[in-house]
């Protein structure tokens, strides 16, 4: 199972969120690997979500049986909504890594890690 680790659990808008992917692949190797950050709403009412930034990972960096660590960085836009835990609504930020494998019968692997986006302090 691929693991995504974030160097911080809270980040302010406009700042950089950094982390790393750690994976020891077995066969088959993925045909596509992406890591993304985004937010989604959860609660009562219409659900909304937005992928804010996505990075394609070069799958040639993985080799069967070898643990590979890939650093990743994302800039949180200054216009992004901040995390919110209200009574009727939540805004949840998460970093997600998705591995797509060749073949119809092989399931994609997905792992997500939550983090909080805070407003800028004046």
């Amino acid at each position: 199972m691929i693991d995504i680790q974030l160097s911080q659990t809270e980040v302010r808008v406009g700042d950089v969120l950094s982390g790393r992917l750690i994976w020891t692949p077995a066969r088959p190797l993925p045909k596509q690997a992406t890591v993304a950050i985004g937010w989604r709403t959860e609660g009562r009412g219409t659900v909304n979500s937005q992928k804010v930034q996505e990075l394609q990972i070069d799958c040639d960096r993985f080799a069967t049986g070898i643990t590979t660590t890939i650093p990743v960085q994302f800039q949180i836009p200054t216009s992004a909504p901040v995390s919110y835990d209200g009574l009727l609504l939540r805004i949840i930020w998460e970093a997600t890594v998705v591995l797509a494998f060749p073949g119809l019968l092989t399931r994609n692997q997905q792992q997500a890690m939550l983090f909080r986006v805070l407003p800028r302090s004046s």
């Binding site: 659990t9 809270e10 959860e42 609660g43 009562r44 009412g45 219409t46 659900v47 835990d85 209200g86 009574l87 009727l88 939540r90 949840i92 939550l114 983090f115 909080r116």
Partner: protein, 205 residues
């Protein structure tokens, strides 16, 4: 510092009473009332009646998800001036908005296909259906009750449990009674009140 996911502290993957993005927005709020699925192609009008928010749409969408067929919801205003679709099994939501002439025509087609029409309605449509030769069956969705709400809330909380975690959230009969009083007859309103109740429990951690 706030926890990243405050619901995890209660052993939950999130608020158990979130609305889903599925059609009807209440797809996750279906309650097993022991009602059988409607028969297909049975020259039958099955009326689902109940107050606003009683779960008519949810029940129609649940049945459609189980047995297929066509679902349509009639809007208010000019949009209601269209002939309802007729198929071996068809679900007409807000069917009391269908103009009488179009309703009669579609029900007549249901006799000759033959079809089963499941109609969510606030008004009794049996007069028109009987005139064209359809059998009529009516189900009144019961009003919101404390015991049913407790059962449903318990199921939703259990469904939101994180794997291998113990849930530290439970609705008491007194809290359920208060929510029933606030929600009137509406399951939709009850779900909103339960969502707020769960969020308050989390904020008090």
């Amino acid at each position: 510092m706030s926890p990243i996911d405050p619901y995890a502290a209660l052993g939950l993957a999130g608020n158990p009473f979130v609305a889903t993005a599925e059609a009807g927005a209440a797809a996750g709020e279906w309650i097993d009332r022991g009602l059988a699925l409607p028969p297909v192609g049975d020259r039958l009008l099955l009326q689902i009646m109940g107050e606003m928010g009683a779960g008519k749409t949810t029940h129609l969408l649940h049945c459609q998800g189980q047995i297929g067929g066509i679902y349509c919801c009639y809007p208010a205003g000019l949009g209601r001036w269209r002939v309802p679709p007729v198929a071996p099994i068809a679900f007409w939501d807000e069917a009391d908005r269908i103009p009488r002439s179009l309703l009669a025509l579609a029900l007549w087609r249901a006799v000759h296909l033959p079809a089963t029409i499941v109609a969510g309605t606030h008004a009794d449509l049996s007069g028109t259906a009987l005139q064209v030769g359809l059998r009529v069956q009516t189900i009144y969705l019961p009003k919101l009750e404390v015991e049913t709400l407790l059962l449903w809330a318990t199921q939703r909380i259990a469904a939101a449990r994180l794997p291998d975690k113990t849930v530290h959230l439970s609705l008491t009969p007194a809290e359920a009674a208060q929510i029933v009083e606030l929600a009137g007859a509406s399951w939709r309103k009850a779900a909103v009140h339960l969502h707020v109740w769960a969020a308050k429990q989390v904020s008090q951690l």
